[in-house]
Every structure is written in C-alpha cells, then in structure tokens.
C-alpha cells in the first residue's frame, strides 16, 4: 500500500487501564490521511485517554496502536515529531512573550532558531495574534490562549493535528474563530483528530467520527450518516412545564417515529417537524413552548445511550 494510502491511525482492541479502572475498553479505530476525525462523547467517555495514547505519551495497556505505521512504544519520539498537539488545559509559559512561547517550542524539535522565529511570526498571523507577538501571555483571553496553543502545535509542521476538547470553556465567538482556523488547516490537507463533547463542533469540523461512551465506541460514521441511521430528519421539542412533561407522553404516542421524554421536554422524532406539531395541536394539546429543529448528534447520542452528551 503506498504511503499516502496507509491510515495514519490504526487501533485494534485498544485498552487503557489505570490500576483497576478501565478507561478505554477495547476500541477499534482507523483514521485516514487528510480526513478530519472526531471522538464525540461526554466527560469520562475515555476520549482523552485515547488521545494521549495516540499522541504517544500514554502507554497502551492492551491491543495494538500504530501511528503513521509506527508503534508508539518503540518509536514514540519519531511519532511525536510528526504530530501537533493542542492539550485540553493550556500549558503556555506565562513568563514568556507569545513569540517566545512559539520559538521555544519550535526549538524542542531542533528547528534552527531563525526558522523558528520566521515560522512563529507566520503562525501568529494565521491565528490572528500577530499584533500581540511581544506581549505577555497572561494578558490573553481564554480564546486567544487557545489560538496561541494552536499556533504552537503547528510549529513543527505536523502531518496530524490532535486537539483535545479545543473549544471547551470558550465563548461562542471564540469558538467560531477557532473553528474557522481549524477549517483552514483542514483545507491545507492536515489530518485533524479532535475530541469533543459538543455536537455542533463535531458536526462542523468532522468528516467522520466515533461516538464514545464509557470507554467503548457505540457508533461510527459521518455526522450525516449517524443522524440518518439513528435519528429522523427533524425533531419537535415540546415543553409542558416543569414536572409535567412525562404525563403527556401517552397522548403524544403515534406522532412521528419515536418519542423521547426528558426532564424538561418531550422530543418527537419525525421527518417533518411542522406536521408533527400540527398533529400535536390537533390532539388538543397545548405545549408551553415548541421548537422544530433538525436532528443533531446530540439526538444520536441520546438514542444510543439514553443520556445527554452534556451531563
């Protein structure tokens, strides 16, 4: 198989155990070069543990893992040389300027200093922080720090870029800026692998994803495939007031394909949400509020696990 066709990540029956606790319970994953791949799941699903194994900083407990065809237990350094990493918690150097943070990081890869400086400036432009190049990291907002971390992760021109929960804790505007930058990277052909518990992020950024829960993979496919397979086209959300949603369920039966009763609302899965809503009214029901929306990965997760993505 020519090099460019080889999957960049191949995991078979991958297990990660911390003492007695099994964080990853035997997963199979394949990520192809150039694709944008996601691990979607709630906190504690095992996404970060998986990412750390892929990043070559966490030893595999059982199973096989090959990154770029290499075994991280043997060639960890060579693998990490070709990876870019954006960790969940920023670990920038507060005492150095933005530029110096990037240059120092580049030096870890033995990139000559002059090239580091040039590359750092280029990357600061890319993440739209060039005007703050000589400023202090401590003065940056959360979104800016994350952008700086992205710039840093690109210093070694990685073939694959790993991001662990890249927009957690950021405001909506910061998230959109970040997604835009990542989308551009994707267009440049960098393989992206990210973990997230945000369904909109997964839908926006990922060509393909796996849904993880409790250390296992419960579904795999493109966002569209997953929604088509596990949900209907649209969802009607009706709210009958606090504590009164469950009692309306029998009267809603038969509308749409499926019902899901949550604490604060009832979800009616139907291909046509508006006509489902008309049916609801025609049965004499008057919900406090209603909303017709398209299905999302949140609905997929709910269907597969009975729980919401965001705990």
């Amino acid at each position: 198989m020519p090099k460019s066709d080889q999957p960049v990540i191949v995991a078979r029956s991958l297990v990660k155990r911390f003492g007695d606790f099994e964080a990853v319970k035997g997963i199979d994953v394949e990520v192809r070069r150039g694709e944008s791949f996601g691990f979607l799941g709630p906190n504690g699903a095992g996404k970060s543990s998986t990412m750390r194994m892929i990043a070559g900083v966490s030893p595999v407990t059982e199973g096989t893992l090959r990154i770029f065809g290499l075994d991280p237990a043997v060639d960890g350094s060579a693998i990490r040389d070709r990876l870019g990493v954006v960790p969940q918690a920023d670990n920038l150097d507060g005492e150095l300027t933005l530029l110096d943070n990037l240059v120092v990081y580049g030096r870890y890869f033995d990139i000559p200093r002059a090239e580091c400086r040039a590359r750092a400036r280029e990357l600061l432009e890319f993440v739209q922080l060039a005007d703050r190049a000589n400023g202090k990291v401590d003065a940056l907002s959360g979104g800016m720090k994350r952008r700086l971390t992205i710039a840093r992760g690109l210093m070694n021109r990685p073939e694959m870029f790993l991001l662990d929960e890249p927009t957690t804790g950021l405001d909506p505007q910061a998230r959109h800026i970040l997604w835009d930058r990542l989308y551009r990277l994707k267009q440049q052909g960098v393989t992206l692998v990210l973990t997230t518990h945000y369904m909109d992020e997964a839908e926006q950024l990922c060509d393909r994803l796996v849904v993880m829960d409790g250390g296992r993979i419960v579904a795999e496919g493109s966002p569209r495939d997953l929604i088509a397979r596990y949900s209907t086209r649209e969802v009607l959300e009706v709210r009958f007031g606090a504590g009164r949603n469950a009692e309306h369920e029998p009267r809603l039966r038969g509308i749409g394909d499926r019902l899901e009763v949550l604490a604060d609302r009832v979800l009616v899965y139907a291909d046509d949400g508006e006509s489902a809503l008309r049916e609801v009214h025609s049965r004499g029901l008057n919900p406090e509020s209603s909303l017709v929306r398209r299905s999302s990965l949140e609905d997929v997760f709910l269907r597969l696990t009975g729980r919401s993505l965001e705990e």
């Binding site: 911390f18 750390r52 990043a55 900083v57 966490s58 030893p59 960890g76 350094s77 060579a78 990490r80 040389d81 990876l83 990493v85 960790p87 918690a89 920023d90 670990n91 920038l92 150097d93 507060g94 005492e95 150095l96 110096d100 240059v103 120092v104 990081y105 030096r107 870890y108 890869f109 033995d110 070694n156």
Partner: protein
C-alpha cells in the same frame, strides 16, 4: 543523532542570583573574619589562612547547593502540576530522558551564574585571588548537581509542596551550617563528624577549598569526586524514572 541539549530562553533576572552569596562573603567573611583572624588559635584551625580565604571557597559549594535547592523543589513541582511545562515538552519529540537532561542543564547554568559570581568575588579579593578558583567552579557545580538530582527527584515524586519547607529546614539549612563551609568540621562533636563526611556538601566544600588553597592532593581529589559521583548517579537514575513515570501515565 540530534543534539540532546535543551535550550530554554529564560528572561528572568539572573543577575540577582549571585548577589546573595556576595553578601554572605562580605558579611561573614569580612565581618566575622575580622573577629576570627585576631585570635591566635584560629590560624592553626583554619589551616594558616585568613577566615576569608577559608570561607570563600566553601561558599562556592554552598551557593551551588542553595541554588539547586531553590530551583529544584517548587519550580519542578510547578513544572508538573501548575504550569504544565514538562507535559508540554513531553508532547514534542523530546523524550522524558531529554526533559531531565534539559532540567539538569538549566540548573547547571543557573548554578554556574551564581557560583561564577562568587568566583569573581574570590578572584578580586587578595586572599583568594588564585588560579585555583577556576577548577573550583566545576567542583562546586558537581556538588550542586547532586542536590539537583535528589531534590528534583523528590519534587517529581510529590503531589503537593507540603514537604518542601521541611526539606529546606531539615536538610538544606543544616548542611549549610554544618557542612564545613563556615568552620572546619573538626570543630564538630565527634559523633557528628562522620555524618558530615558522608554529605555531598562537605565533599564539595573540601574540593573547592582544596583547589583554591592549593591543599588538594591527588588522593583527596579522587576521593571527593568519587563520593560526589556515587551520590549523583543514583539520583540521576531516580530522576529519570520519576519523570518518565509521571510524563507517560
């Protein structure tokens, strides 16, 4: 094979790190020295040199130790827990072993500056102005590296800094006071002297003083360096093990 040396740009103010030993030298050396030198029994006890000449070289070794202590406890734990510095490094092509090497190199530079500052002061003062100051600097650094190794290993194994003050108070400070820098260890009670002979600081002090005062014989040189190496090697190994364990969970 790529160079294994880590280069870290540190824009903190390094010039201050040799002012403290300078003050010691001036305060203790000149101040206490003027008291000590007047007493007739002093000359023999100190080996027929002035107190400044006795103390000065000792301060090379103690400065290395104190610098190591200052940089290897809280900053190392911080590097793991609060700043994520080591985690950031380990995510790159660097291995844990290279991170440790870089940490030691960084400490050697820090100690080098502090010890270098003291060496400059020694070179200026007539009682200690001698070529012997030159080899005393790496001797002091070797001594300092022993403390670097064990204190870094200690910090790397901790989740909290609660033990650090105690380490400073119960290990570093007693060594500083009883390690032979300020007075000959022969002045210590009989039962305490062998304890001093085991400590890396005493060997560091003896090496430095031996170089500067030209009293170091080949056998003594070999002995002191060997003891320091015997202290250093396991410390180095333990450091590597702890860093790898912590970085590759």
């Amino acid at each position: 094979m790529q160079s294994l040396l880590l280069k870290r740009i540190w824009k903190t103010n390094l010039t201050l790190s040799f002012l403290q030993p300078l003050f010691f030298f001036l305060g203790m050396g000149l101040g206490v020295g003027s008291l000590v030198n007047d007493r007739p029994t002093s000359a023999e006890a100190l080996g027929n040199v002035s107190y400044v000449a006795f103390l000065g070289p000792g301060l090379l070794a103690t400065t290395a130790m104190l610098t190591a202590a200052g940089e290897s406890l809280w900053p190392v734990l911080g590097g793991f827990k609060w700043d994520g510095t080591y985690e950031a490094m380990a995510a790159t092509r660097l291995t844990a072993a290279q991170v440790v090497r870089g940490q030691f190199l960084w400490l050697a530079v820090r100690m080098g500056i502090a010890v270098g500052g003291v060496a400059v002061v020694l070179a200026v003062h007539p009682d200690t102005r001698t070529w012997g100051v030159l080899p005393a600097v790496p001797a002091a650094l070797l001594c300092g590296l022993v403390f670097t190794a064990w204190l870094t290993a200690w910090a790397a194994s901790r989740e909290y800094d609660s033990s650090f003050s105690m380490v400073q108070r119960m290990v570093v400070t007693p060594l500083f006071l009883f390690g032979g820098a300020f007075y000959p260890v022969d002045s210590l009670p009989d039962w305490l002297r062998p304890v001093a002979w085991v400590t890396p600081l005493w060997h560091g002090v003896e090496l430095c003083r031996g170089f500067v005062l030209h009293t170091l014989g080949a056998a003594d040189l070999l002995l002191h360096v060997s003891v320091l190496v015997v202290w250093l090697v396991p410390g180095w190994i333990v450091c590597n093990r702890f860093f790898a364990r912590r970085l590759y969970r």
